[in-house]
């Protein structure tokens, strides 16, 4: 099972590395959104500082939609999905592998985005462990539900528009919890960030389990 998961991660990351879509398109997209938020809030330092966590995670959600669409597209093109089914790998392993590959890409973008908010929004890091843990757990949670809904939207004709309306409402708790945990990590508001992290972990576990169970029927039928 772990070997299969590793195979799928390896495949997706290698395709990503060779096409450089994340690096050449998703990273500039994320930074553009961060800059546009600066314009929208009239470059008001106080407002930006107060809103940094929320804006950061909202941007991550947009990035996730793009990353999931990309991860799904590489399976849809040239009937790669059929090949994946024929390869005899457990659908749950494919799910975990694809989710981890998406998570790795989003994490990569997040690293650059943290740099972005430190520079553009004057943010300061108060608790690095909490910041890193939040990024890791929230990203895994986002990748799990994203990969499930991406596979689900893959067979739909209007998949580009269907995915955001399905994915974004489901991710509402992640936006709330990750933003509050970041508030603590960046020292913006005194809240218990670790408690929020627990909620994120719960969300991630539930959605990953559902994804691993439902991925098989979805892969076969759509």
């Amino acid at each position: 099972m772990f070997a299969d998961i590793w195979l799928v991660i390896n495949k997706d990351i290698r395709i990503e590395w060779r096409s450089r879509v994340t690096l050449s398109q998703v990273v500039p997209f994320a930074l553009t959104v961060l800059v546009l938020f600066g314009f929208a809030l009239d470059a008001n330092r106080e407002v930006l500082a107060a809103a940094t966590s929320g804006l950061f995670w909202l941007t991550v959600l947009f990035v996730a939609v793009v990353a999931v669409q990309r991860s799904t597209a590489i399976e849809t093109a040239d009937g790669a999905r059929r090949a994946l089914l024929l390869a005899g790998i457990e659908p749950s392993s494919v799910f975990v592998g694809k989710a981890l590959a998406v998570a790795a890409q989003i994490l990569g973008v997040e690293v650059l985005m943290v740099g972005g908010v430190l520079v553009f929004y004057d943010a300061t890091v108060e608790s690095l462990p909490l910041l890193l843990a939040t990024c890791a757990v929230a990203t895994l949670a986002i990748a799990a539900s994203g990969t499930l809904l991406g596979a689900l939207a893959a067979g739909v004709r209007a998949r580009e528009t269907v995915l955001p309306i399905l994915l974004l409402p489901v991710l509402a708790p992640v936006l709330i919890a990750a933003s509050r945990a970041f508030d603590d990590a960046l020292g913006v508001v005194a809240v218990d960030g670790w408690a929020w992290l627990g909620l994120l972990a719960g969300f991630g576990a539930v959605n990953a389990l559902l994804g691993a169970l439902a991925y098989g029927p979805l892969l076969e039928e759509t």
């Binding site: 539900s145 739909v156 269907v162 974004l168 708790p173 709330i176 919890a177 719960g202 979805l218 039928e221």
Partner: protein, 250 residues
């Protein structure tokens, strides 16, 4: 099949429909003229006769959708898929009604249409968006079984995530304005409470009535698709046989 012969009504649904009509009339009379004004909320309290039942039925619909979805994934029974679809559709209507009545009730009572601090209101809005997404997915079309499977996964996903959304919004706001459950806090006048119970019964009857009709529409739609497919097959076969007859006669 003769045109206009197929209806979704039956003796039972007509009786049920009549009961709903009578019930709504009784509810209007009780709600506007029977139940007294509230000391604090004045006339706005009358909104609960629609708001509380629709909120209750929204979550009932969500549970039915989840059960129908799980049963489709497990048994592959078309019956359950149509149940899930019908419940999701009717659930969206009740969910919209809950949000709408909640907002116009909030204006005179909280002095705002929307309160971010209210856990149940915010959770219900996100549920509304998820249900709308589920229906959008169904309307996007495609292979019948695939559509049912996709919608079932989204239905289950919505039901599973609602408690988590509720919890996150609760922690986040931590300052809920929403009054405690109107039925259990014991502050309601007797006649108001009675009217509320009548409201729940009437709207629940309407829910059942709408479910039966919507289910039958779904069932007929499915039969229609099957008939269309059969007709098309018969036509193609007929074409093929005339062509081959033409070839042999040549």
């Amino acid at each position: 099949m003769s045109a206009g012969a197929v209806k979704t009504g039956s003796r039972t649904t007509r009786l049920l429909g009549f009961a709903v009509l009578v019930g709504v009339l009784a509810l209007i009379l009780l709600g506007f003229f029977g139940a007294p004004e509230d000391d604090e909320q004045r006339d706005a309290v009358r909104m609960i006769f629609v708001h509380v039942p629709s909120a209750f039925l929204t979550y009932t619909a969500l549970v039915i959708t989840a059960v129908g979805s799980a049963m489709w994934l497990w048994k592959r029974s078309r019956w359950w898929d149509i149940v899930a679809h019908s419940a999701a559709e009717i659930g969206v209507i009740f969910c919209g009604l809950t949000l709408f009545t909640g907002s116009i009730w909030g204006r005179p009572t909280w002095n705002t249409y929307w309160d971010w601090g209210d856990v149940r209101l915010v959770t219900t809005l996100i549920l509304f968006l998820m249900l709308v997404g589920c229906l959008a997915l169904r309307s996007a079309g495609g292979d019948e079984d695939a559509v049912a499977t996709r919608a079932a996964v989204v239905g289950l996903l919505a039901a599973v995530n609602v408690p988590i959304i509720n919890r996150s919004v609760e922690w986040w706001s931590n300052r809920t304005l929403h009054q405690k459950s109107s039925l259990t806090d014991g502050n309601l006048e007797d006649l108001t409470l009675f009217t509320l119970v009548v409201g729940i019964v009437v709207w629940a009857l309407f829910f059942v009535w709408a479910m039966i009709h919507r289910f039958r529409i779904g069932w007929l739609e499915r039969q229609l698709r099957a008939i269309d497919l059969e007709t098309a097959l018969v036509q193609r076969r007929a074409e093929a046989s005339t062509e081959s007859a033409g070839e042999t006669s040549q």
